[in-house]
């Protein structure tokens, strides 16, 4: 009798716990007024953010060359320890893409990883970095995306084994890892470094590759930009903190030059997944590359 009561109590507690989990980790939306300040989209800035954010690198069709780079048909497979993701169609097609989305819905996806139907999005889409973007930049980006060619392509869904196919659990992931806090505290950061911090930690999402991850796939922020195994499989991603004798020997000019040309100080050439990133960096205004370089000289060496 007492055992039954005890077990009943456990079940009740578990239910209450699950309910609390569900309530606390439910997909969030930003208040609607947030987007009022976005104003008329500045398409030139939107294009700049598009390049800084590397949207085409994941959302263009697989194998798309320079010419088709702006057709965001989706379909690229992203392998991970949790299964294989397929990038969705984010062209302005009203049926197959995001043409029917409001700015608020786009912004909630970018800053809170919340989908249009109120579902959690997988953090393979790096909203954990994009969360740091300003309302204006997101508004400009969305305006720019709407000018791009439409695609009717319907890419495959994600290929994830149980339990990773349960979007509900992403609420827990977000509870642990989604925030807008600066990744590093930089005392006496000047405007250039602060600008670089915004670009690198926000749209640039450098840390998503350059910071090692824990078993749940969250970033180990105490090793910010310290490199680690390539999340897409082979080889290593370099440490880009200013370690003496290594990356610390690069000057800010060397870093900005590399982002512009793909050549290292001893004229090795960029390779692997960084090639697409460097091509996007080369499209940015000079000041943006210099700001990122200044930031990389300022972060703690790991």
């Amino acid at each position: 009798m007492a055992l039954r009561k005890f077990l009943g109590g456990i079940v009740l507690l578990a239910a209450a716990g699950a309910g609390a989990f569900y309530f606390i980790t439910a997909p969030q939306r930003l208040p609607a007024e947030t987007w009022a300040s976005a104003g008329e989209p500045d398409l030139a800035n939107g294009e700049r953010i598009f390049n800084a954010g590397g949207c085409a690198s994941c959302h263009a069709a697989p194998g798309a060359g320079e010419a088709e780079r702006l057709v965001l048909a989706g379909g690229l497979a992203l392998k991970s320890p949790f299964g294989t993701f397929h990038a969705p169609n984010i062209s302005p097609d009203e049926t197959a893409g995001i043409g029917g989305w409001t700015l608020a819905e786009f912004g909630d996806a970018m800053k809170r990883g919340t989908g249009r139907r109120g579902e959690h999005l997988y953090p393979a889409f790096p909203y954990a970095s994009y969360a740091r973007m300003t309302v204006k930049d997101i508004g400009d980006l969305y305006g720019y995306l709407k000018t791009l060619p439409k695609s009717a392509s319907v890419p495959p869904g994600h290929d994830l084994p149980f339990p990773f196919n349960m979007r509900l659990l992403l609420g827990g992931w977000k509870f642990l890892y989604l925030n807008e806090a600066p990744r590093v505290t930089l005392a006496d950061a000047d405007e250039t470094v602060k600008h670089g911090q915004y670009l690198a930690e926000g749209p640039g999402h450098c840390g998503e590759c350059h910071t090692p991850r824990d078993v749940l796939g969250g970033l180990k922020t105490d090793q910010w930009l310290a490199g680690g195994p390539n999340p897409e499989g082979e080889g290593r991603i370099p440490d880009i903190t200013p370690v003496e004798g290594k990356f610390g020997d690069w000057s800010a000019g060397d870093i900005a030059g590399y982002l512009e040309t793909g050549f290292t100080p001893d004229f090795d050439s960029v390779g692997g997944a960084m090639v697409a990133v460097q091509k996007n960096m080369a499209r940015l205004p000079k000041e943006d590359r210099e700001a990122i370089a200044a930031y990389l000289k300022a972060v703690p060496a790991r």
């Binding site: 082979e234 040309t261 793909g262 004229f267 090795d268 960029v270 390779g271 692997g272 997944a273 091509k279």
Partner: protein
């Protein structure tokens, strides 16, 4: 005493032979070729950035080096050289050897075209380097694994 000298000499000879033998290993040869490529790119970049004065001889020599390297580079990837000597070669090279060779051929063609129509000033050198740099990155994107 004599025996010890002999033993040391023998040991050094073996080590020396090992070093010399390693120098012929394709992994080592191809790494050297890439270093040469980098040196040539560096010479061109110095001119392109305005750090060094334009010098037609240097431009010619650098582009010639690139043409040379591109010609014989794919030959340094025989079966059996997939690993060893800290090679950063991706297994994909042997899975798609034709495409790999095509990348080398493109680099050779672009450097050759620049050599035939020699860039005459800082700006032209910069333009040539941009084209060639894209060839470097295009191959490294698929066929080199950073270790």
């Amino acid at each position: 005493m004599k025996f010890r000298t002999l033993a040391v000499a023998a040991a050094l000879a073996v080590i020396g032979a090992g070093v010399v033998a390693a120098a012929d290993e394709p992994q080592v040869v191809r790494q050297g070729m890439m270093k040469k490529m980098g040196g040539a790119a560096g010479a061109l970049a110095g001119i392109a950035k305005g750090e060094k004065p334009y010098d037609a001889e240097i431009v010619k020599a650098s582009l010639s080096t690139m043409v040379e390297v591109a010609k014989t580079f794919p030959d340094q990837f025989p079966a059996g050289s997939e690993t060893g000597h800290e090679t950063e070669a991706s297994p994909k090279i042997w899975e798609a050897m034709d495409d790999f060779k095509a990348h080398a051929a493109k680099l050779g063609a672009d450097a050759g075209a620049a050599l035939a129509d020699l860039p005459a000033d800082q700006a032209a050198v910069g333009a040539a380097l941009k084209t060639i740099g894209a060839d470097c990155g295009g191959c490294h994107e698929v066929y080199r694994i950073k270790k």
